[in-house]
């Protein structure tokens, strides 16, 4: 993009509203005010944050949900103007010392699930928003034309700008916007954009791209707020970009109570990462892609729509393959001070398909979830193809996890004859057919064809549509359609881990692994054998992990790097030394006391608030935690046969049935009865541990115990309590 072209686009801009605010320093990780923007009325306003809000909701996801609750009604749907995009970051976010301290948390009512969805995402936007003066940003209403919202944290000025000319796809838009705002190379690092893509215009799985400027590659790069359709809501509001500028960043900008302590903790982690990472996860070399071969080895890598957990060709998707594409030795942190540096990139990648064919681009990732979703789960065992699909998903603003699970579902439907070329408009969706997948992806962006008309609506919608329109077996579709609450499952096999089935499907937003990842504890190490053990884990880990999103932290520096002696500690799976770091870090920044019990309670308040928010929006109860059977056990004879020895052994040892002489159908039936009963028992145990009724409703006593017996919450739960 030349400066002349960029200025020509800028000349089409029209200022719709402007607001000046007083700049003041952050105090102990907080600004004590949030920013509200209504794109319909063009109102821009500040809201105070009271002590009680900090005490009960902390920040980040807690602030997001509190503000969103107040903005919507129980009848509000995702595309109503009062639905909001809320972005908050939390008190720890924005320090430049402790690795993983730059996360933004986005929440909105999801087009896929109709309930709140929250995403924890990197990039500079959240930290710069905070340092510009706000603990959260609420965007309500809908603009009439495409707009840019500009928050100038240097001048204390906010603008809503009509911007008709720029592209929507993220990588083009960033190239167009950057010269408009940052005239000099040295200024580019001080900007961050939130953008979507044309995928957000035509699908329910639109994601948001949060940018950070890569000084070495001289390009804006992106991290994705992927799940649940945040980008779809963003585009429905006709937002082209959110832009923030902050140029005064130092290690003291978050103004902690004890800066030295923050520096000490950060430096300790830097030393740990630099000395251990090469022997542990190799995050600095390959990012989360290191997981591919591990998952394949343990029969946990989803293959062919979660039918199997390993594949002979999985080696072609191993981290060693991706390392060939990733430029090595770069400080690839998505926020300053993150030495874990996991956001790898494939540089100078030539696109072979679609509207940008022939362009050489920087591709972020791919990360494990993308490799497993659009790779093995869809039968594509080729790193180059995965990178090309990853690039287009990102620039179109499409969630790679949902796209992968949708594609895998469609391919299975195609393979069994529910779909055919006539029904897909010519797309031959057989396992591993990369050109067909890319074509479907481009359709999602252009708004045409099967990709936009069918695939874009998500697995839940398609299950019903295929049963209705094609008289397909509804039970089969329910069994193999890997979604919960309307959200597509992320990319781990849970069949042999009951705890992980709960970790996926007893979540608040849907089956995403960020609440609990218990497969190794449960299946490999057998460390949580009883229902009570599993329930304790499904209390502790979701609460502990929720805390990252209250604080603006990344989960990865918690357990993708561990102290050298972690295995000798009392509870290695909790990484006790890092938990202690977090407690000290929180107090060093905010000045508020904290211990490991109160840490869990901070999360538990917000976790219960979110569960009740789900109830308020018509979800939230036990039935909504239902898992598709393929997440629980083998659906088809093919699956059973592939692991016959394992399943026969389970019949003998767990069910007390001699498999000899039983038909395959009978074996499948017995497994199903047993496994579904186990899942039901787990639900009982987990809900009891979480202080909920057997219908998954938080009790008033539990809310009182947490200090969350707020009238608006009690009013909702009372409608559901016996």
């Amino acid at each position: 993009m030349s400066a002349v072209d960029s200025q020509a686009l800028k000349s089409q801009h029209k200022l719709l509203a402007e607001y000046n605010y007083q700049l003041r320093p952050v105090e102990r990780g907080y600004n004590n005010r949030t920013l509200f923007i209504d794109l319909g009325s063009k109102e821009i306003a500040e809201k105070p944050v009271c002590f009680e809000m900090k005490r009960k909701f902390v920040g980040g996801k807690g602030f997001d949900l509190r503000l969103l609750w107040d903005a919507v009604q129980e009848t509000t749907r995702w595309d109503d103007p009062e639905n909001e995009i809320v972005i908050s970051m939390g008190p720890i976010c924005g320090n430049t010392n402790y690795p993983g301290s730059g996360k933004s948390i986005v929440a909105t009512l999801s087009p896929e699930t109709k309930i709140p969805v929250d995403c924890n995402v990197g990039g500079y936007f959240g930290p710069y928003l905070k340092l510009s003066g706000f603990d959260a940003l609420e965007i309500s209403g809908k603009a009439q034309q495409d707009v840019i919202v500009f928050i100038d944290g240097d001048k204390g000025k906010i603008q809503i700008i009509e911007a008709p000319g720029e592209a929507v796809d993220s990588h083009v838009l960033a190239e167009e916007l950057l010269p408009q705002f940052a005239a000099l190379e040295k200024d580019k690092q001080h900007y961050s954009f939130v953008t979507a893509g044309r995928g957000g215009d035509h699908t329910r799985i639109g994601c948001l791209n949060f940018s950070f400027y890569d000084k070495r590659r001289k390009v804006m790069r992106f991290k994705q707020a992927g799940r649940g359709g945040t980008g779809t809501v963003f585009r429905d509001k006709r937002i082209k970009a959110l832009v923030v500028k902050f140029s005064r960043l130092t290690g003291a900008s978050n103004n902690p109570v004890d800066l030295k302590k923050v520096q000490d903790l950060g430096l300790k982690m830097h030393h740990e990462i630099l000395s251990q990472d090469d022997q542990q996860c190799r995050m600095r070399q390959v990012g989360t892609a290191h997981l591919v071969e591990i998952m394949n080895d343990y029969d946990l890598l989803p293959v062919h729509n979660f039918k199997f957990g390993m594949h002979p060709q999985a080696e072609k998707l191993s981290s060693h393959e991706f390392k060939k594409w990733f430029t090595q030795g770069m400080p690839d942190g998505c926020w300053f001070g993150c030495t874990l540096a996991c956001c790898k990139a494939a540089d100078n990648f030539e696109l072979l398909s679609g509207p940008y064919r022939g362009q050489r681009v920087v591709v972020d990732g791919p990360e494990y979830e993308t490799v497993a979703g659009v790779g093995s789960n869809s039968g594509i065992f080729d790193a180059r193809s995965v990178i090309e699909i990853n690039f287009y998903c990102d620039t179109y603003g499409l969630d790679t996890i949902s796209f992968g699970t949708i594609t895998a579902f469609l391919m299975e439907c195609y393979e069994v004859g529910i779909l055919n070329k006539e029904r897909t408009g010519g797309l031959e969706l057989t396992w591993g057919n990369t050109p067909a997948v890319l074509e479907m992806l481009h359709q999602m962006a252009s708004g045409e064809g099967f990709g936009a008309e069918v695939a874009s609506k998500g697995v839940r919608w398609m299950k019903d549509a295929f049963a209705t329109q094609y008289s397909a077996d509804r039970q089969f579709l329910e069994d193999i359609g890997m979604e919960g609450k309307g959200l597509e499952q992320s990319q781990y096999m849970s069949k042999e881990s009951l705890a992980q089935q709960g970790g996926y499907y007893m979540t608040n937003k849907g089956p995403q692994h960020d609440e609990a990842w218990l497969i190794f504890m449960d299946m490999v190490n057998n460390a949580i054998p009883t229902f009570q053990d599993k329930a304790d884990a499904l209390h502790y880990f979701p609460m502990f992990r929720t805390w990252f999103s209250l604080q603006g932290l990344c989960k990865l520096p918690w357990n993708d790097i561990e102290p050298a002696d972690n295995a000798t500690t009392e509870a290695p799976s909790k990484v006790p030394e890092h938990v202690a770091n977090y407690i000290e870090l929180y107090t060093a920044i905010t000045g508020f006391p904290l211990d490991k019990e109160e840490l869990i309670r901070q999360s538990e308040r917000v976790y219960n608030f979110q569960r009740i928010f789900n109830l308020r929006m018509g979800g939230g109860s036990r039935g909504e935690d239902r898992a598709p059977y393929r997440a629980v056990g083998p659906v088809t004879m093919e699956e059973y046969e592939s692991r016959r020895e394992r399943y026969d052994k389970q019949l003998k040892e767990k069910m007390g049935v001699d498999p000899d002489g039983l038909s395959l159908e009978e074996k499948l039936r017995l497994h199903r009865v047993y496994r579904e009963e186990q899942y039901n028992k787990l639900q009982d145990a987990v809900y009891a541990r979480r202080g909920w009724t057997t219908d998954a409703i938080p009790t008033v006593e539990h809310l009182r115990d947490l200090g969350m017996d707020l009238p608006e919450l009690v009013e909702v739960v009372k409608k559901h309590l016996p």
Binding site: G251, I273, G337
Partner: protein
């Protein structure tokens, strides 16, 4: 490449180098603020620790804001105006020559100014010109990186 060369066998442990270094850059006699360190080695006198400049360059590669660069003379320099104080460079330094003081927000290091060498009574320190490539690093590539 301009570098401060050290001769541990000559060091008598007087600490004059650390005094002059902290006086030069922090206007106070505080050995904790000295870029050169004199570490006692049991039974063997002292070990002088100081940046190897362009011969190493690990801090340059680790710096996310490119605040650390290599000058035409091959000296590793920190631009305090760009540094965001993350201290990743301190951890990246394999010999502990990238320094941090608890009361200073920015890391600091030897820039081979030679003030200490002039003050050393036993010539345990000297500013010398060396070829970085001879020491195992391609200076040109590091300068391009910076």
């Amino acid at each position: 490449m301009k570098v401060l060369k050290t001769y541990d066998d000559r060091c008598i442990g007087c600490g004059a180098c650390m005094t002059v270094c902290s006086m030069t850059f922090f206007k106070r006699d505080d050995h904790a603020r000295s870029a050169i360190q004199m570490l006692p080695v049991e039974g063997k006198g002292f070990h002088l620790v100081v940046c190897e400049q362009a011969a190493c360059g690990k801090c340059v590669a680790e710096c996310s804001t490119q605040a650390i660069s290599i000058s035409k003379q091959g000296t590793v320099l920190i631009n305090k105006g760009i540094c965001i104080n993350c201290f990743a460079c301190v951890a990246a330094c394999p010999i502990g020559a990238m320094r941090r003081h608890p009361e200073e927000i920015t890391p600091f290091k030897c820039i081979a100014c030679g003030a200490c060498a002039k003050e050393c009574p036993v010539d345990a320190l000297a500013i010398v010109q060396e070829e970085a490539a001879v020491m195992g690093t391609d200076l040109k590539s590091l300068q391009e990186e910076a």
